[in-house]
Symmetry: C2
């Protein structure tokens, strides 16, 4: 899979202890910067490639601090504390601006851990929905490049066709997988946590400027459960709870086709007007 | 309010640029360390006291890295990036261990912002529940000190009385305010985001070791809306979505008595067995 566009986008070159070099790729370009999901995945990838890594991802929070330009960036990933079975990471993405000054473009934290088998229960169960093969592929925001890297099949809450300001719900449900297909792993799951177009578009049926400010992903699946998901579709479900004076939240779930809850995720998103 | 136990717990003394001195207080002691909510509030307080602060809290993520001991700690709060209307903060709590080594006990990030009035909507509305005056005060985990700092009035999902392993839901709803009453502000809201006892206790009706690993709070209210909430009760609602091999998540909301959604919050929590 080394030549899959997602793997190319995630490539990091070790520069020094805790520091990696990366670059944005056209394949995941959003409207004015890289797709936030691929940035989250790249931040996580620095942790996963780190020689001191303990365990697998449990939690990832990414704060989008500045507008990342096309081109090279530096990524630092530092284990701030390592316990017997958990490890706490700080990550920063730095980019040198036109004036030659290095600026913080993204900050993130991650927790990795070794898991043990325990009593388990998925309380949030897969909604009863049509299977992906029975649904058409659609491209919300079809003019945006990163959207073409995913096969999205909507059940509910499609990208509005009429921008008439008459929206009444923020709920979307869609099957999603990468195109070309790629087996799901922690990084692709982090990226797909950011697959949902801004809830404010849907809720208002109105297109206003909007961008994610912070995203958190909780990983419920371990590596074996991700492997079982293979290249199948994931069901993504997202809704907002509050839109208030410039910021709304998004709460979302990602299940695999077998109905296992792989991740739950949350965002706070800036919007204008 | 300077002598309210919550304000005493939050006290910070500036030590140097970006560095504060604080200490744990017996009034908010949990089973083996300080109440995580008061730690989150203290981390936020360092940001709010910082001379470079821009705007008010939008987002706070706190990662609980180590077992904090009773006594003094150092808190660093650094603005990593300041934009026109948003600011990104990194926070760390450090404590010197018995060997004289300074250790990272907590890492956090916060985003503050200046807000503008926009179209707004609370999609997650206050559940239809009994008013607080009609409900008895109960103390879940009554032997734990911090619980005594809150007046909790449960509607649903009380602390189990019989630990018979026969639980079937993780949903709690309760009215909560500080005792003695104290007007809600950003710090007390951050603390009350962590008011819910571990969902695994309720879901299983079984008491197993559990502790929050990471918590995120999204602040929907601005300072004026918090002021309007006064010393009234907040309705807290929490549930889990997945319990899986040592970690479960919690998703929660906090409304004021007038029904305004003040904050939404999420946790990932370690549990054993």
């Amino acid at each position: 899979m080394e030549n899959h566009p997602f793997d190319l986008a995630l490539r990091l070159l070790p520069l020094a202890s805790d520091v990696y070099a990366g670059a944005t790729t056209d394949a995941y370009w959003n409207m004015v910067g890289p797709f936030g999901g691929v940035l989250a995945a790249t931040a996580l990838n620095a942790v996963l490639q780190h020689p001191a890594l303990l365990g697998a991802p449990i939690s990832l929070t990414v704060n989008y601090a500045g507008q990342i330009a096309a081109g090279a960036f530096k990524l630092s990933a530092t284990p701030r504390r390592t316990n017997r079975s958990t490890q706490h990471w700080l990550i920063e993405l730095l980019q040198t601006n036109k004036m030659g000054v290095e600026e913080v473009m993204l900050t993130a934290s991650a927790i990795t851990a070794t898991r043990r088998a325990t009593w388990s229960s998925d309380d949030a169960t897969l909604p009863t929905v049509s299977r992906p093969n029975n649904l058409p592929t659609v491209q919300p925001m079809g003019s945006v490049e990163w959207v073409k890297r995913y096969d999205m099949r909507f059940i509910e809450g499609m990208f509005p066709v009429e921008w008439d300001g008459k929206g009444d719900t923020s709920l979307s449900q869609l099957w999603v997988r990468e195109t070309p297909p790629r087996a799901v792993d922690f990084c692709s799951l982090a990226a797909m946590a950011d697959i949902f177009f801004p809830r404010v578009y849907l809720r208002r049926a109105l297109r206003v400027p909007a961008g994610t400010v912070s995203m958190t992903v909780y990983f419920h699946a371990d590596a074996a459960q991700l492997t079982q998901s293979g290249t199948g579709f994931l069901l993504g479900q997202a809704r907002a709870q509050a839109f208030r004076n410039g910021f709304f939240d998004q709460t979302a779930q990602l299940w695999n086709e077998a109905g296992l809850l792989l991740a739950t995720t949350h965002q706070i998103v800036y919007y204008k007007e």
